[in-house]
Each structure stands twice: as C-alpha cells, then as structure tokens.
Subunit: 245 residues, 6 copies
Amino acid sequence: MRVDGRQKDELRPIHMQTHYIKHAEGSVLIEVGDTKVICTASIDDRVPPFMRGKGKGWITAEYAMLPRATEQRTIRESSKGKVSGRTMEIQRLIGRALRAVVDLDTLGEKTVWIDCDVIQADGGTRTASITGAFVAMVLAFQKLVEIGKLPDVPVKDYLAATSVGMIEDAGVVLDLNYAEDSKAQVDMNIVMTGKGQFVELQGTGEEATFSKEELHQLLETAEFGIQQLIELQKEALGEIAQKIG
Amino acid sequence: MRVDGRQKDELRPIHMQTHYIKHAEGSVLIEVGDTKVICTASIDDRVPPFMRGKGKGWITAEYAMLPRATEQRTIRESSKGKVSGRTMEIQRLIGRALRAVVDLDTLGEKTVWIDCDVIQADGGTRTASITGAFVAMVLAFQKLVEIGKLPDVPVKDYLAATSVGMIEDAGVVLDLNYAEDSKAQVDMNIVMTGKGQFVELQGTGEEATFSKEELHQLLETAEFGIQQLIELQKEALGEIAQKIG
Amino acid sequence: MRVDGRQKDELRPIHMQTHYIKHAEGSVLIEVGDTKVICTASIDDRVPPFMRGKGKGWITAEYAMLPRATEQRTIRESSKGKVSGRTMEIQRLIGRALRAVVDLDTLGEKTVWIDCDVIQADGGTRTASITGAFVAMVLAFQKLVEIGKLPDVPVKDYLAATSVGMIEDAGVVLDLNYAEDSKAQVDMNIVMTGKGQFVELQGTGEEATFSKEELHQLLETAEFGIQQLIELQKEALGEIAQKIG
Amino acid sequence: MRVDGRQKDELRPIHMQTHYIKHAEGSVLIEVGDTKVICTASIDDRVPPFMRGKGKGWITAEYAMLPRATEQRTIRESSKGKVSGRTMEIQRLIGRALRAVVDLDTLGEKTVWIDCDVIQADGGTRTASITGAFVAMVLAFQKLVEIGKLPDVPVKDYLAATSVGMIEDAGVVLDLNYAEDSKAQVDMNIVMTGKGQFVELQGTGEEATFSKEELHQLLETAEFGIQQLIELQKEALGEIAQKIG
Amino acid sequence: MRVDGRQKDELRPIHMQTHYIKHAEGSVLIEVGDTKVICTASIDDRVPPFMRGKGKGWITAEYAMLPRATEQRTIRESSKGKVSGRTMEIQRLIGRALRAVVDLDTLGEKTVWIDCDVIQADGGTRTASITGAFVAMVLAFQKLVEIGKLPDVPVKDYLAATSVGMIEDAGVVLDLNYAEDSKAQVDMNIVMTGKGQFVELQGTGEEATFSKEELHQLLETAEFGIQQLIELQKEALGEIAQKIG
Amino acid sequence: MRVDGRQKDELRPIHMQTHYIKHAEGSVLIEVGDTKVICTASIDDRVPPFMRGKGKGWITAEYAMLPRATEQRTIRESSKGKVSGRTMEIQRLIGRALRAVVDLDTLGEKTVWIDCDVIQADGGTRTASITGAFVAMVLAFQKLVEIGKLPDVPVKDYLAATSVGMIEDAGVVLDLNYAEDSKAQVDMNIVMTGKGQFVELQGTGEEATFSKEELHQLLETAEFGIQQLIELQKEALGEIAQKIG
C-alpha cells in the first residue's frame, strides 16, 4: 500500500487548465497530485544561429521552480547567477522530447519557446512538465493555424511522460510523489508517443542496480500510465485533439 | 473615460486567494485586474550577517516574472546570469516597505523571506506584490504564533500600495494598467499604512515634470485607493485581521 | 543644532570645478561638504537598440564609489563581478532625472553617457551626482554646439537634487551628511527643476512612517536648498548658463 | 559495413595506460579508437556539506574537453565563464554511475574527485570517461589501502559503459564513433556492472522514436560490448582486479 | 625631440598630493604629466587564508580606471562583470613590488590593501601607481605607528617605478606618455629600490625584439629616472622620509 | 648540487612529440622534466574586431591546467566561472611572444589560436608552453603551405623560453623545477630568438631584490639554455626547420 493510498500502478489525480496565461500563444496549468506546473509555449519567428537557412523549425525549453515550490525554500537561480546542472538536464530533456513528435520542416523557420515553471513541487516535475508542455505547444500551433501562419498543426503523434521506480518492499510503482522518489532505489523517467514508441528512457540506480526483468516490469508500468495521460491530454485539447498525427 | 471603462479613481477588481502554495508558511495569489502575483512568506531562523547578535529580525524580498507573464516573452534572469536593475529596485522596495510596519524586536532573530512571482503582468506588479506580500507575511506570523514560536503577530499596522499617474487628456488616475502606465507622464507608487501614514513615496516624471498642486491630487487619489485595498486585506485575513496593530 | 554647526535648512559648502578631466566632453568635480564626486559626460553617436530609428537621443548613467571613498574600505563591484542593487537604483535615478530636462528630439540619435564616480563619500552622493552630472552634461552639449554637431544646447530647464530628512529631536533637516543620514527616520531625495517643478520624489520611512504635514515640510525645505544649488550651477557654467531653457 | 570497417557489434580498439599522471592518487589514459580521455581520481578527506556527519563517502566528477579535442576548436568553458548543460549532464552521470558500485559506508567521510579530460574526441567520450574513471578510482582506493587509510578496496562490482545506436540502413551498432553518432536516429548510453546489472540507461530518439523490439536489440548489443570492456579493465588493473566484488 | 618637448631621459612633471582622501589610512594623488592616480592604503587586521597563522603581514593591490580616464570612454569592469587580464596583471605587479621592500614579519598579521584608481590616463599608469602606492603605504604605516599599532615603519627601502622604451628614429626614451607608448617597439617597466636594486623588470618587444646592448641602455635610463622619483617621494613624505631603511 | 642532480646550468630532459592531437592543424606534446604540456595551434580565417581590415594576422593564446596536473587538486576555472589573474598573465605572455617572430602581414587576415594545456606540472609550465607552442604553430603554418593557403611559413626566427632563478646557497640556476621555484628569491622568465635577441624579460624579486651583476649572470645562463632548446625544436621540426628565418 502506498503512502497516499494509491495502487502501485495508479497515477495521481491529473488536472489540466488550458489557456491559463493570457499573453502566451499556448498555456496550461498542469496538476499531477500536488505538483503544479505552468507550461507556456511562445512562438518566435527566428531560429537559433545553428539552424538558420535550413528551412526547419526548432523547439527549446526552459524550466524553473519558484523558491517556495519546495518544502524548504530554495535559492533562486537568478540570485545565484547560474543555472544548476539539474535544471539544464531537465531543459534539454523537455526540448528533445517535444522535437521527436513535431514535423520541424512543416513548422518552418520558427522557434517554439517552452517555459515550464513549477509553482508547487511534489515529485515528477519533469514528467509533468513534458506532459503539460505538449498541450501548451499544440495550443500555440493551433493559434498559428487560426491566424494563417501555419497550414496545419505540425504534430505527428501524442507525447506524454511519467516516472516509475522501485521501492524497497513495494517493488515497481507508477508516478512517484516526492516521498516515494526520495527513497526509490531505481528511478526511471519515460517519454512515449501515442503509438507506444519510446522517445526517451532514463533509468538510474540510486546507489543500486536493476536487472533485465525489473527493467521489463518498469517499462510495462510506465506504458500503462502514459496511455492514460494521453487520454487526458485529448480531453484537455477538445476538438483540436483530432488534428494530431 | 478609461480604456477599461473605469472611473479615474477606481481600482481594478481585486482578488486574494490565501494559502495558495502548500509548502510556504504564508502565501497568497493576488489578482489586480489581469496582474497576478504569487506571494509567499518563508521563515528562516537565522538573520543575515549584518544583523547578527542584535536580537532583531529582518525582512527581505525577492521579485521575479515568469518569462511569459508579459506580452512578449522576456528572457529569464537566471539565463542571463544576473538580476536587472529594475528587479533589484523592486526587491529593495518591497522589503523596506514591510519592515516599516513590523516590530522587528518582537520578531527576534528570524528572517522573513518574501517571494513575489508575477505569473501574469498588466501593470502595477510592484504595488500588487507589496499588498499581497503583507497578507502572506501576516499568515506566516500567525502560523508561528500557532506553533508557539511567536507570542503574537508582530505587525503594527496594515500596509498596502497602489500606483497613481498623470495621463494626457485624462489627468490623475488610480491603479494604472499596462496600457495606461506606458503613456503616463507622471508615475507614482505609494505605500501607506492603515492609519494613513506614508511609508514610501516614489514619484517620477517620465521625460516630464509635475507641480505641487498635481502632487497633492496624486496623493489624495492614492490614499482613497489604499484604504479600499486594506479593507480587502482584512477580508482575506478573516479572524487574523484583528491581531494587527 | 546640527553636528557640523549648520542650521536645519542650511546646505553644506558646495564647490564645482569644471573641466576637471581633460578627455571627457564635459566634466566637473563637485564637492558637497566632504562628499566629492567626479562627474563626466561622454557623447556616443549611437543609441541603444531599443531607441534606434526614432530620431531621439538617450541619456544613461553609471555610478560607482572608489573602495576607500568610505570610512571602511568597500569591496569593488568589479571584483565581486556584479553591481549591487543600490548602485543600479542610483544609476537609473540619475539617467531618468536628466532625461526630464533634455529635449531628446533636438539631441537626435546620440547617447550621453554620464559617469559619476564618488572619490570621497559623506552622505548625499546620489544627489551630488545629479547636481554635478547636470553641469557636466551641459558642458558636453556646449562642446557639441562649438564643433557644429548640435544647433543649440538642448536643455529645457535647470535640474538639481538634494536630500531632506527627519531626525529625532531635530525634525526636518536639509542636505544630510553621513552621520545624520544614518540616524534619520525619514529620508527623502528630491530632484527639481529651475522652475520649481518636481522630477523625482523618493521618500522612505526607515522602519518609520511620516504624515502629510511632515511631507509638506520636507518638500518646502528641499525646494529652498535646490534653488541655491541651481544658482551655484549657473555660476559654475558662466556664460553657458544663459543657453538653458 | 561500418565506415571504419568494424562489424556491427564490434568495439573500437581499446587501450588503458594506468598511472598516467604522477600526482594523482589514481590515473589512466583511456583510448577508445581515436577518443582519448585522461581520467584521474583524487581523494579529499572531507565530504560536501550535505553529506557531513553521516559517516559515508561521496564521489563527484568533472568532465571537460580540451579546445582542440574536436575537429573545430571549441571555446573553453572557463573563457565563457560557465559550464554548458551538456557538460553538467555528463558530470552528473559519471558521478552517479560510480556511486552505484562503491560501498560508501566503508569509504567513510572522504570525497573521491573524478576528473575526465578529453584530449581527443571521436564520439563516446562520456562512456569512455566512465570506463576509465572506474579504473582510476580503483587505483586510488588501492593506494589508500597501501598507506593504511582504507581496510580494503570498497568496490562491489566492475562497472563499464558503452554506446549503442540505430543508424539508417545499418540498424543497431555498438560503440559509435563521431561520424556514426552524428547520423544516428536513436542513441543510447548504457552503464552496466560485471554481474550484468543495469546502472544507467539513457536512450534518446533524435527526432525519431524506437519500439520495444528495437530497445531489446540495443540492450543485447550493449551488454556484449560491456562484458569485453570489463575484461580489459581487469587486464589493466592486474593483481588489484581480484580485490573487487 | 619628443612630442612634448622633453629630452630623451627627462621625466614628465611629477606632483604628489598626500592625504588626498580623508577616510584612508594613507593616500596620495600622484600626477605624472597628465596621468593622475588616486592611491590609497587601507589596513585590515586580518590576512588572507593562505597567510594565517604565520605571524606575517600581506600586501595586496587593486587597480582600476574611471571610464573616462581614457580618450574614448571604456566600459566599466563592474558592468562587464569581470576584471580584464591587463588589470589583473597590473594588480599583481603592484602588490608584488611593494612586498619586496616591506618587512612583513614586523608588520605582523595585517593586510595592506592598496587601491590605485586612475582618474586620468596618459601612459605609465602602472608605474605611477607603484610610485604613488609606496607613498600612500608609508603614510598608512606612519598612522599605525602614531596610534601605537606598529613599533616602527616596517619599510626596508624606497621603491619607485618608471617606464622606458625604444621608439623608431628616437631610440631609448624615459617615461613614455600615451602617444609614445602606442608606437614604441620595445616597452619596459622597471621597479627599483633606493639602493639601486631591481625588484621587477618587464621588457616586451611589441612585434619586435631587442639586443643585449639595447637592454643595457634601457636599464641605465630607467635608473636615472627612478632616482629622481625617489627624491620626489622623500619630499612628499617630509619628516617621515627618515624612518625608511 | 641540485635536488635532481643537475648542474646549475643544465636543462631537464626535453621531449617533443609532434602531431600529438589529430584534429589540430599543428600540435605537440612537450615534456620538460615532469612538466607536460599539450600545445595545439588552430587556424581561424577571421581576425578579432580590433584587427579587421588591416590585412594582418593575429595570434592569441589560451593556457590551462588539468585539475590534477598539480600535487594538490586545483579547482577548474570553468567551475569557478572565471579565469585567474595568473592564467591571464600567462596567456597574454604566450601570445605576445609568438607575435614577435611571425610576419603578420604575410599571414594575412587569419587568427592563430594557441592552446597550451598542462597535463602534468612541475615548474616552468609557461616557458614550456612557449617553447612547445612555437613548434605547434610552425606545424600549422606548414599545413597551410601544403594546402596552398600560405605561400611560405611566415616565421622570421626561432623562439624559445626558459626560466632562471636565484636560490639561497646555490646562486643562479637554469630551468627551475617546482621545488626550486618555490624557494627561489629571484625568478626570471626569458623568451629569446634564434639570433639571441630578447623578446620578453620578466624578472621578479620574491620579497627580495637583485643587482645589476646578478641580472647579467641570470641572462647569460638563460641564453645558454635557450640555444639548446632551439636545437631541440629544430630536431622536432625536421625538414620544416629550414623554412624559418
């Protein structure tokens, strides 16, 4: 039995409030249990220098936490004057994941800026960010379609992410909250598409290791959770959901 | 007539949702029209080096905007690696204003960290931050009282802030939104107490100047607005409101 | 009676040595009692990016203290690798104040760089900087007129600044030195024009507040001091003084 | 057929020159094809603040490239004043991987500093770093044993890493060089122990995705390579090899 | 004939105004032609970490230029957020030079902070800084003697610095101004003591080289200048001059 | 007798392994006793902004140490976020020295990037860097000649560097290792050409001074060493050696 009463393969309650920030081309407030992330997608009509002249688009992401998103106040990265390794790793992951399902040729020379700002953290902030960022990005694309700047939503498939882990005495569990994450021996973040293809797989033993059989079980559990997350993305997107794939 | 249909001396709709962030000792989401700020108050049992051994407390504030709080995406200060002059000026203002109404001797050697994070901006973010931060701080003090770490809420008076300005053809107006702020010739931020005393007064001619008569009118209008803001703070605080002063 | 024998509404001795630095287009060494500031004005034929193509000029200011301007040596901001919030606040104030009296359209697409370097500090460094910077700027404009790069000195009015404050047992005093500033309950910096219009008004209660009556008295005293400062600016500028306004 | 004539499941030639740097407690120059990395292990008798008083050791890693390790000269991170996200990600990976096979309790309150400096790069620098760092670390532990500062080499199992990937027309290949890495659709880094347990698994689709069957094949190929790498580590360690596990 | 009418072995006019900054323990405004440097010496009762517990003192120096010391405004190093290589090189030189003539054992565990701030630059700022800093340091030591914190001025010998150079068509010249320095083929800075011993010798061919004979002539000329500088230091120090050596 | 058995005027064993790094246009691993430096020369077809349009080339150098090049691990400058004064001083020295023997007009608008990375340090790293960098640079020029991008190797003379010093009881010694350098009273780095001309001369008394006679002896000893270093450079360069001068 888990600390919050969930089954081993049960997601936390998920809510997505679309159009949460009025200025952004696309935005969503995603809640995964007590984890709350504001995801916005902004469109810039330029691409970074290394992409210029290729006729292709680019997707880049930034991730941050409010200082009091966490139980103890954390120092702002702007005050420290540098972005931590953890933040950079997450930012790179979000951008890479989204690029895997977008048709960058159709997008053309535009940059999608994804911002994921965690206003309350309780584990799983990076996977919630990816799941929410996908929705914000689709909303931004739809806006471009509406104003005639894109012929169609250039998204090839759905994309969502969750975490699975191994906890002593409990075994494999889905969608770890902070308390679970802190004591997990193996921690795995998985990003999958609507068709069940892998996009990212990051499994880590925390001063521990895992076998092939355990890996198999972790992947099965993750897939089960991601399918549900994609159903919830479809609900949140409403009519636009049909334009994907 | 103003762009959003308000009277010259009319505030925008104000909402304060207390206990917005579960981890913080005190928190509020304040909305002033389309301006939305998450204010949290965190208690640290130490004071900064220059205050050590004096038996007095300290209050310090940090302020930031999400990149997409604004109409055009703004670059994160953590990415730039430094905090702008504007941000520092606002942070210093918030801290200084709150210290004026707190009995720092009663607080004892503790630091109150105020975080004001603007999630949507439409003018008046610094004054909304002060008004919201006061509420978050009182809630944090109340929590300390409840767990026996403070004998009483060490706050001497209410404190709220608003902006007034002078706009061509319209004259003096209260609580400027972004559109008004951009074209104001004179811009003034005023912080006052429940008893009508000034705490901060910052008036600036934007490539313009103002006379003593105009100053008088600006101050009258600001006071009228601040009295209403303090009534709303009392409502938001409920029973705790009586513990102040 | 004040610590240095002055009347409550008496300025410290003021000296301005024009053309102090040979390389600068305009320069002055201003002394306000023991506070000494080197102010220079440099002309750059470009404007910052946000001003380009508007046909208007810009004025920007930088402020710094030598490490041993103060009683205790202060660490250089270049060694710390960042500029403090106080410095940024002062820099923004100086630039904003000067822009209020300059006809930026007549100036055209040029930037005036104001540098205020405090070589000895005894309170009132920011107001001395503004008063001195005004003179340095006018000298630089006059130089541009002489070499045919400007038709006329594009300055609409005089501009000077001073501080007033409230001190326990003494009440309102003019032009505070460091000893007075340290114990003032209310501290106000005022920037005014030759015609008696306000440009900037920054009043702050230091863990204290002030009433409307006190504000009135502070403003009267400041105006009395600023009128004298402007007479001294006219003396320092000599013949050029007539070209203003 | 691969660009350098290798079989799909063939490693590049591997050399490890132990005791390469005289000052370091442990060091190795590892060559994987044209990729050359100097790995050193240094022992510090303190642990970082978050580990103090726990009686446990810590392992941390730093990774860098010489500017001319790459085909085009890359700018030094010291000149840029900040470490890139890629570097941080690799540093975190190396440290985490090594910690999985070290008995941190037996190590006691010491920090092992791993430095991996790529002097020539041709793909697979992070996996070569892990494989080499393991050897350098064991040598440093052995040195501590010899001088009586450790009872035994506190290493539970062997640890090595390699990359596998999917390349159009070629399918799954082992130990990608730079040319292969640049065109790979799926790129996976795997860290395994001598007993065949997973420690880290990082698979990424580069604007592509991969199926469960493909994942299975990638993992099989990686395991085949890692077993060979571990044999080579044993040879390089000579007699010390028996002290592990 | 030189550009300013001097003989080849003639110094520029030198002035030293002692006690220039009231807060500093020792200070001087040194003018070498149009080069003007404010030198202050501050005493700190601690030494840097690497010197603790040795019972010896330390001398450290910082050097900076006001932005408009130069013909074209230079960007502040505090704005750039880092100190240039040239500045660091000069700082290290000043500190090292002064340490050669101070009895650090007699000084005891104190740090002398030397600040050299160039307010107007016309070549030779580093050598003027050393010559001036020596005077400021002696004045600071004298102050410590007067208040009983030092038994005697712990200075073993005089110390001054100048530049010599080789200029096409003119040959070896003494004390180069900026115009001469810009076209010199060989540029040498020499620091010597009152007894004619070398402390520092830095000779550089600027895209040129120099022979042993030329070196000999450069050194002779420098010594001739330094002897005069030391006489001027003695004048500036008045009675204290006798306490040295 | 010296600590490693050398005569006073004896160099340590010198080895130079050319073409050490495959990607660089020119490279060498230079060993001077236990000091080992990887020197590479990279050619960039642009010049820095201050050199543009002059039709001349530029040479710039960067220098760094691996953390474990030293007996105690030193912190990476990339981790500290800034380059030390010592590093900058050495970088400027290397670049300046090489520019003295290169015909920058013949080179044309290209930049030679020299990178000197110390992988093991035992004194004399800066002089070993210059001696090795010269060889790497010549190799890079030869490569440009071979591919037709330069008519000839644009190098006017050989260039090498060594250190000399004065040690108590031993007097003047050549090519100091770290143990000797640490206790030297006078430390001098000398850069000379094949024809025996000086390029750089940096002599420093470490809390000590030196006379003209001692200077003479130091220079003689250095010249004796540099002549041998140049012979070794010729050997390393083989046939290309004839193209210089």
